[in-house]
Symmetry: C2
Subunit: 140 residues, 2 copies
DNA sequence: CGGGATCCTGCAAGATACTG
DNA sequence: CAGTATCTTGCAGGATCCCG
């Protein structure tokens, strides 16, 4: 299909450009997305703005420390905004910025792929772990 | 737009389903993709099958240890296949499996987003690091 | 060439306690 | 409530040497 060729062309460009350090968007941004909690938080905020403790509850197993840190990284990158309401016990609300919103679509694409491929991946893992000695031997 | 609503619905589903541990494709697969090297290797293999030392050269800064390990994880997940040619100095070729190929499109979506957003992200970081005290204070 | 086995280190991240 | 500060540790991952 034609789309596949276009894809290859883009991959060629990225490869040829080199992955050098932090000049490269691929590594720079992917490292963020790949972070254990970033995606979960983004998904949690996708629906509605959320307060700190709400996020703490909604994102399971995250520690306050990591939540704080991840939120600040996201804020620093401009993906979320932080709104402080000076109520008596102060309340802070986080919400997706337009930039953060724009990340949802590609993210959804990846998650869709993850869901569709999950069964196949699990099967492959099981087979591999079962001592899959079926090495692909090719004639020279 | 309608697409946005569809997006929200999907996010709702993922959220409601819970992110529990390793039953959840999101965490399970995203952890892989987010791995420092996985994406780079996938991109490197997108164009052509590649041998170990070629990958070692093409993916900068990766150690042999990590390359070996990442390749095996990818093989275990069924994203790449490993072909051994029994030549005198043995040569091993890695190539994307159909499953691995199918990951390229969503990955490309994310990388496209990364490229398009990189400038904005950098700007946001600079502003944040410049001691951005412009907290969003909202009236109670 | 394509790895495996070991050793060693730094830093990511959990636990706990304190504050405005 | 929404964090910060400090201490402590596990283990990811680099360096090095060896093997078929």
């Amino acid at each position: 299909m034609a789309a596949s060729n276009a894809l290859n062309t883009r991959f060629d460009e990225w490869r040829d450009r080199g992955f050098d350090a932090n000049a490269c968007p691929v590594r720079n941004v992917l490292d963020r997305i790949g972070d254990k909690w970033t995606t979960l938080i983004l998904v949690a905020l996708a629906a509605k703005p959320c307060r700190f403790s709400q996020l703490h509850r909604n994102v399971p197993d995250i520690s306050k420390r990591m939540l704080t840190q991840t939120l600040r990284d996201l804020q620093r990158d401009g993906l979320i905004t932080r709104h402080v309401f000076p109520t008596k016990p102060p309340s802070v609300e986080y919400r997706l910025s337009p930039l953060g919103q724009s990340a949802l679509a590609p993210l959804a694409g990846l998650i869709d792929w993850a869901e569709q491929s999950f069964a196949a991946i699990q099967a492959s893992r099981a087979q591999f772990d079962a001592g899959d000695t079926s090495e692909h031997l090719s004639a020279a």
